[in-house]
Every structure is written in C-alpha cells, then in structure tokens.
Symmetry: C2
Subunit: 656 residues, 2 copies
Amino acid sequence: MEPKVTYSDLVIIGAGPAGLMAAAWASRMGLDARTLDDKLDRVQTGRADGLHVRTLEILDSFGMANAINEKAYQLREICSWNPDPEDDSKIQRTERVRVKEEELGRFCQLGIHQGFIEQNFIDFLQREGRLSVERNTKTKSLQLEEALMTDHTAYPICLRIERNNITTNGATADQGCKKIPNTKMRSPQEEIIKARYLVGADGGHSWTRDQIGLRLEGGKTKVHFGVVDIVPITDFPDIRVSCSIHSTKAGSTMTFPREDRLVRFYVQLAETGSEGDDLDTSKVTPEMITEKASTILSPYKLSYEHCDWWSIYTVGQQCAPSFSKGNRVFLVGDAVHTHSPTMGAGMNVSMQDSYNLVWKLGQVIKGIAKPDILDTYNAERQSVAQTLIKMDRDMCDFYEKGAGSDAHNYDEFYERFRTFLSGVGVEYGPNSLVVTAREDDGSRDSQSGTDLDGSSQTRRPSTRSLASKIPLGQRLPSFLVLNHAEANIVHVHSMLPADGRWRLLVLAGDISQVAQMARLRTLCARMDAPSSFLRTYTPDGDKVDSVIEVLTIHAASRRKVEVFSLPELLRPFDSKLGYDYWKCYANNYEGEEGDFDDAYAEWGVDKDEGCLVVLRPDQHVSLVCGLQDVEEVEQFFSTILVPHKRRKAVAVGCGK
Amino acid sequence: MEPKVTYSDLVIIGAGPAGLMAAAWASRMGLDARTLDDKLDRVQTGRADGLHVRTLEILDSFGMANAINEKAYQLREICSWNPDPEDDSKIQRTERVRVKEEELGRFCQLGIHQGFIEQNFIDFLQREGRLSVERNTKTKSLQLEEALMTDHTAYPICLRIERNNITTNGATADQGCKKIPNTKMRSPQEEIIKARYLVGADGGHSWTRDQIGLRLEGGKTKVHFGVVDIVPITDFPDIRVSCSIHSTKAGSTMTFPREDRLVRFYVQLAETGSEGDDLDTSKVTPEMITEKASTILSPYKLSYEHCDWWSIYTVGQQCAPSFSKGNRVFLVGDAVHTHSPTMGAGMNVSMQDSYNLVWKLGQVIKGIAKPDILDTYNAERQSVAQTLIKMDRDMCDFYEKGAGSDAHNYDEFYERFRTFLSGVGVEYGPNSLVVTAREDDGSRDSQSGTDLDGSSQTRRPSTRSLASKIPLGQRLPSFLVLNHAEANIVHVHSMLPADGRWRLLVLAGDISQVAQMARLRTLCARMDAPSSFLRTYTPDGDKVDSVIEVLTIHAASRRKVEVFSLPELLRPFDSKLGYDYWKCYANNYEGEEGDFDDAYAEWGVDKDEGCLVVLRPDQHVSLVCGLQDVEEVEQFFSTILVPHKRRKAVAVGCGK
C-alpha cells in the first residue's frame, strides 16, 4: 500500500527545547505545522539545566516564565575556591561574586532540569490546543525538489516518516505512554509529508543535517568531564551557590545547584589534551565521578544517597558552515553548534535559534513578509554561535588552567561575558530587519515637511540622540510603566507577547504640552491615511493591529491627559468590546505614581522630543526615528513586507 | 436497605470559597476529611469578585497567588465623581486616589470572578491528590449526640447525606460533568457519616446553621442594588479604575473593573429606607440596570453587547450570635455574616474564617493541640464580622448620602478602613493563642538565669521594644531577606507555607559578634535539651520540625558567618538529604547584597539584641520575647499543646 501523502507548511523534527520553541511559535502564529519526535516521551532527568535572563524573557513572552521561576533554583552568587597557599592539599574560598544578571533584566539565572522546561512547553501547546508533539515517529528520507526551491508558495520538501505502533494523538499525546486497553499492536505506518519549510531540531547527531549534506566543523578534544546530579551530603559551605573549584593535585570541578536539593557537579576526568592520556569512558560510574569531586573538595566531605542523573562528555567546539539550505530547510540548536556545558548556554542558545527563526517563517508562510528575510536567520544566529564557541574555548582554558594563570580572577573573567551570556547583549544586524543607526547629521534638513511643529523642521536628531540607550538590533530593555486607563504598573515586555506581530512603539513624549500633542496627532493622522503602512500591509477587514500593533508610551502626567484625548488610532474601537485600553501607557511622571522606573530616562529618550521605535516580533529593535519620520517607517516596512493586495494564495498540492 | 455508615474526622458542607479554603487546609494537614456540595459544578460567572491583600497572602501560602495575580485586574486607583456645581445634570471627577494597599503587603487588591478562585482551589486539591469535592450531594439530617460532645476523640456528629445519580469520584470529581458511557442512572444513594467535627460553609441560607438552631441577627433594609458584569462600550474616561459616582437626580453607582475587559456596576435601584418605596425586583433586567447607570454617568454614554452576569441584592447587615456549637460544629462565611458587597470584602472574610479555623481543627484532630483552642475561633472571627458590619453600615451611608454630606471625601473615608479591609490590620487576642504584650518593666529581673551574656541578665526589654513594629495578634509583616546558603532573596512569608506547623522565628541579631553568637548557641542548647518544647510536643521518630519549625533570620553579614557555624539545630541533618539549608536566613546587612528591604528595621528589631517570635500556623504572631526567654516559649506551648506522650489514640467507631 502506498503511504498517504499530506501537506504541511512547516515540519519541525525534534521535540527538545529548540524544537518545542519552534512549535510554540507555530502554535501562537496559527501555522499549519507538525512536530515529530522519534522518542516515546520527553527527557525525564538531567541534560541541560541552565536558563539565562533573555531565555526567561522569551519564555515569558509565551506566558511560561512564572511557573519555571517558581520551581527553579535562582543563581545569586558564584564562588571560586583554590588551593590554600599554606597547605595545598586543602582548598579555600578565594572569591565571592554576587551575580548581577538581574541588573540586565527582570529575571535571574536559573537552574532547572531540561525535562521541566519541555513539560512547560508541552503544557503550553496543550492549553493553546493547536499543535501537539507526534512521538515515536521516525524520519526515513528527505528529498528536496530543486526546481521548486525558489517558489515560496510551493512544497519542495518531501519527507517520508514512519509512525510506530504505540501512537499518541491529540491532547493526550504528551501525557506519557499509558497502554490503551484493547488497542492492538499495529505495524508501523508510513506517511509522506510534502512541506514548504523544515526545521531540523534533532540535536548533535542531527539526521536532518546529514540529509542536507552539512557537516559540523571543528573537532573534539581529549578532555573528558563527568557530570552527576546528586543530592549532596556534605559540609562544604558553598554547596548551594555555583562554584568553580581548583585543587592542586586532583583537578577541577564546577558546581551548579538546582531544584529539589539537587546539585550538579562537572568533574574533569582526564588530563588536558595529551594524546596518550585517553580515558575508557565506558568504565566510569557516578560513584567514581563523585569520589573524584570529593577529593577535589578536600578537606570537605562529599557523598550522596540519591543520584538523579549522570553522564560523561568530551569537550569539543563545533559549528556548521551554514544553518540553512536554500531558505527551505533550517537547522537549530545542537544540530549546528556544540560546545562545552560549562557556561550553561546550550539550551538557551538553542531555544533562541528557534525564537529568531520561526516568526520569520510564520510571516513568510502567511505571505506577510518577503522570503528574503529568511536570509537573516543564518546571518544572525551563526554569528552568535561563533561568538559562543570562541567564548567557550576561553572558558575551558580558564577552567583547565585554574589557579595557575592570569585567568584566576573569576569576577573579571565573568564580567567580560555576562552580557552576552545572559542573552541580553545579543545584537543583530545591520541587515534588512535592523536599520543602521543614522549618524548625527544636524545639518541635514528634515525629509518630512508635514510636521505641524515648525521648530522641529530644522532639527533632526540622530538615532542615537533620540534614544541613546536603546541599542539597535538588541532586544528592547524592559522597564515598568503605567497603563494609562488602569494606572496599573506593568513591564513593557508584557505588552510584547510572542504572537508574530510587529510593533511600532510611539514614545510620544510629554503630550500635556500642546505642541507635543499636536505632533502626536499629526503622526496618527498620517498613520491613519489610506496609503499608510498600517493600511498597506493589513488586509481589509482585519483588525488594524493584526500585522503591526501601535503601542504608545507617553511621558505626560496621567493626571493631566485624559485617555480619550489620545487619538483613537492609539486605542482602537471595537463594536462589541468598546475601546482598547491596553495600548496606551504613561511613563512614571516625576515619580508621582510610586517608587518605580523612569523608562524614558532608562532608554535615554528626551521627554520633550519622543521617538518611534519599530520592534520585531522577537522584541529586537529594528529602527529608531523621530515622531515625524513616518517615511522612514514606511521605507523600512516596504523593504520587508508584502502589500496585502499583492499577496499570493498558496495552493495546497502545487508541489506535486 | 440501611444506608452505609462511614467515619470521618471532618466534614465540610459547601464548596464555595470558604468551604474550599477549609478543604485546602484539610488537604495540606492530611486530615481524614470530606467536602460535600449539593451543586453540580463550581460557580461559572459573577458573584463575589474582590480579593484583598491578606487574602492573596493566604492564597500564596497554598501556592495559589501567582496564577490568580496573572489573570486578575489589579486595582491601583479609585476615583470619585460628583455633580458638576455649574450644571448638576452632569458629573465631574472630584477626586483621584492612588490605592496604597501595596504598602501593606506585596500584593495589591484584585478583581476576578469567584469561579476562577474556586477553580484554583479545585486545581490545588487535584494537584495535592488527597481530597476532592463530592458534588451533587445533599445533606438530609444532622444529629448531635450530646453525651459525646466533650470527648474530642469521639464522633458525636451524625450526618445523613444523599448522593445523586451523576456522581463524581476521585481526581475527576471537579472536571465537570461529562457523561460516562454505559453508566446507568442510579437511584440516589444515602450514607450516614459519623464525624468528629463539622464545618458549615453553606452560604447565606445555611442549612447547617438551621440544624444547630442559630439565626442571623439584624435585618434587611429596603435598599436594592442591581449588579451587572458587562463589557462596557463607553466614553467615560475612568471606566478602567474603580469609581464611586453620585448624580443629583439619578442616584449613585459604583464600578469595579475586572479581568477580560469586564466591569462590574453596582447601581442603586430604589430610594433609601422609606417603606412605601418597595421595588418589584422580579421585573428588573440587566438592560434596566445599565440604563440607570448610563443616566447616572451623563454626559458620558454607556451600553454593552456582552453581559456576563447580573443580579439584584437588598442591603442588609446580619450576624449570627455564635459561630459554633459546642466546639464541634462551626459556621464560616455567609452562613454567619452578611453585608453589602460595596467593600468587596465578603469572599475575603469568608475565606479568612476558614483559614482561622481549620488549622486549629487539624491540630486538635491530630491530638497535637488541646480542644480548648477551638474557643478562639468564635472569639477571633465574630469580632472581625462585627467590625466589618459596622464599617459596612458607614459605607452604605456614605454611598447613599454621596455628594451631600461630610462623607464626600472618599480618600479620607477610605483611609479610615483600608488597613482593616486589606485584612492585614486584623488583630486577634489576647487569648490562649496570642500572649498579651509585656509592659515595659526594666526594673524586673530576668527570669532566665542561664544566659551566657551577663549583660543581658539585668535588662529585660518589653515585648514592644524588642520588636516595636511586629504587632501581637496580627499577621507577621513580610519583607525580603536572604537565604544564607543560597544568597537568594526571598519573602519571609515564603518560609511560612500553610502546612499546619507552628514556627519559632529566631531573630538572632548580629551573630558575627561573639557575644551574640554565644547567646544563640545557648538558646539552641536549651531548645535541644530532652525536656525542651521541641522534644515535648514532637513524637519520637518524627522530624524535629514536624510540630514546631525553627527558622532563623540573623542580622550579620552573610560574608562574615559560614552556614556551618550556625548551630545544627537550625539546619537539621537528614541522612538521605544532607543538611536543610532552607531554615537559615540573613537580613540584608547594610544593603551589601542589593537594593531591597532591611527587615530588622521594618520590624523594629534591634540588631544587637534580636528576639524570638512565635508564629501560629496562620502566620499570626502569638508571642514576642527575648532570645533568652525560652521559659516564656515553653509556658506558651504548655497551655495549648499536648505532650506527645499524653496524646490519646482516636478509636474509629467509638461514637457508635
């Protein structure tokens, strides 16, 4: 019997953190997508366990951060231990560093096992009710029809899969593998999926990567680490903070505390590099790893009754030469970059690959954006992977050398990397999605002749002076502001959920000033015109905010401006629901509404001037320009979006 | 056929918020308890909708606050509107009050419909897996066997119930009423439950109250209010904050915004008091209520497309003369007090009744505490109800008089009540569970001769000077402190989950000072003695913290004191799990660990002196005394707890 043929806009292979992040986007954007995994269930114990600030922000954009934050270990301190100079058979604390990651955002670094993260994604998908993971499903072959690769309405991908006899379906797919009574064992079922796009999130041994002929570059070292997750019984005083511990004779260990009294130990097993010193990893046991850690910790004792998980890994830094093929097949996560787990970065960077990629795919699949934007995935994420790998080499070097080198100072070392590692410092572009900052060119005339406020005709501040602390290409830093109508204090990021929409942030300035309110009205009148970008890219009949949502944060006192004096475009009316009060916000005017942030000051935005900020669906900053610079915004969107009248219908089956 | 007879330590009748709070305690304390409800499902829309700060703290002690906080409307501002003096057919804003409830705790006042709260309890019970609500179950008769009433090991309560044909069972009890295939309709099944204690949480028309011969006292007025929950379509600018609105001719309305764009309107329908002005409530419709609100709001417009719920109520203030019978049957919530909904207090006070009661029942049922402590329920909660009813009369008066009276100033009016209404200002005792504050008696010699620090022998500070801002009988105010081992910043309340244990909070002071550390060691040595209260009330073989948990918050720098220099009693060892690092905390020493609270300063505790604070399982303060005053703690517990060696076994069936 011929296998049945089905069509799908997007297939995701692999349901680890990277694959599930891709599925979460697909669910939120309402894509016709499939998520396949060859295993029977999610990871139960161990594996990756570190979450950084930016990852928490991203999880929060899907509503998942709080549940994870409640359960996880919160990292607040890192300590260094080194040999006691007076008795080098003992270690002593040489440094105590307060983790400052919370300065970078509203979350801190967490320790929680990968399976819990996966479970939160599974629960999310179930709540949303659009997608579920198809488990026990193997991929058999992958063919690409070259002739169709450049037609983005076509289905050039032909994926043959085999679903095995214990099938999962619908909402119960992720509830585990209960035996269903009276269900007979069936022979494996084959299916051919014709797809427009494919995401390979199938890990370090990626099948997808092999199919498209890519190989990881860079090699493995001979350095082997043992990893154990144990509930330690010890008198080591820093057992509940993360430590980097160097002994004179027994080598090094790193610790990272976790949920439920667990602590992870990374223990260096074999000496560095030398060819003759290979280790028979098949003979290593968790008892051996812990015994070695105990020796390193001397004079402190270490033992355990409960070991949750353990493993051995060999340090290696590898990266794929490309993260995609023809902008139809994309690779994310371990499939394209591997490195040591010492920085707890792996799961984060992997999920961030998908977070970067799938909104772009969603916009292209829906015909909103031009397929060219897919080029930015490789450009943006490969450079992140390369930076990470460079950093990982330095980190491994630091850990190997330990007390004997300049790198001894952990604080200094950590400071070099923490912004990048937190994920908050990651910067994209310039490219089609991030517009190069305008240099200070006060001499140039304004291109906009329609501004009512005559005084602004001759001044044209540079991007940098408009918002000196909003870095182009980075994610927008979040601060607390007030909902204008409710007076509720909310984080700016809470207005930016992951739903695939672009946002135009109107930082309107102090609109209690007549001239500034006039500028805002002019802006809205221009955005409300039939030819404006809001109308060009939004299908007739759809809500005005369905492609680009306009959000306002003004800098006037809430007490001086009534919500209905703001132009209606900023608080759109719905005949069933009334006005939308969740698009207009106020900066905390001279602290009159409590002891919290001054977002304008934090962003470096002048309250008498204001500015426009275009945000990508992943919260990264595309463009900053003046309130009068509607043409710049028009220009930006015209290079990447497709006018709704020119969108092509996708004919299912055209790939046959 | 004779109905089957079963035995239960506790039966809860009614699964509204008060009954579910009782069930939550029973679940957490592992009681043999039943929760019966005559309805098929929880409330779906409308009813109560206000949550105050203390209620959120309580919900948080069961792990439920975050989910509710995320979904609910957060009240930050209250506005008064009154007739425009220049044109009294119009209203104008006369006052804008920033709600300061967040000053009282870490939560703010919320608006969320009762059914969502109930669902959170149902989910909680399901997660815990010990209890579920038995729905569609009617109570038929209640008899009390007088001879057994004073024997607290006996089962004097005989409750006959009838379970109807669509039954619910186990974990699926609260999943709604799916039809189970092939389940035949059965005739109602009767059962006789012999119980030790009964909680009647069956509302304003309480069947339980009638059975024990109690009647509410106080009457209903002739003032009728209409209530609608609508998604308003309006140009009234304060529609998303809570308003008290008085018009000259059309009367008054109050508004309270809610989740999902809803706003509740309370609209006065009939004029005050006059006998001749009775209203035919059967003819009122939601359209009429909204029409009236719209007239009051003039010149603003009001209409709706979606009405979520509506009702009519007649203002009345009533209270039962007693909240219990023979310390075996207890009434909570609307069963013993009713008042107007104007303060959004009802659901809060009702849940707080159960929160006050059921840990006491749990301790008596388990034999840990003497039955006498049950007297405090009536004493503590009836006085709260009476205060609330007095306040409600003033509030109704204020709303009726509106603009025409001294009560015009909402801010001033609100300020009088906000601490009480928030629930944070509720104060219990003095009684057997709250020890009267010691007056300043510096002249009296110390009763304790064992203190190592000679200098403290002659000084004996009063309770007030030991902790000048910890009010006896009130709930302990929560501030941020550091976990000593993890450096994590946590709220003190997070250490006080609702699990039925007493806590001794050791505010150890600056133990980096040798003398202060010596005082702490002496304290621990005394508490560790075989005759100490920790041993007297804790069964042999049970964990040392199973009845009274000792928690330490010291005021030394975390950097100057190693966790293992704290006495082991404060971080007990477990042979499988190692040391317990979640009992030792540090005050933020001179702000060295970040920009957050100085809990000692907030509590008015001297860092060179410290003190002991005994906390009830409901977080209320029983006793404050000096670090050397172990006898006072002994004395306190000896009056209310039963030494474990004298605890009686409960013989099931002895009530027959």
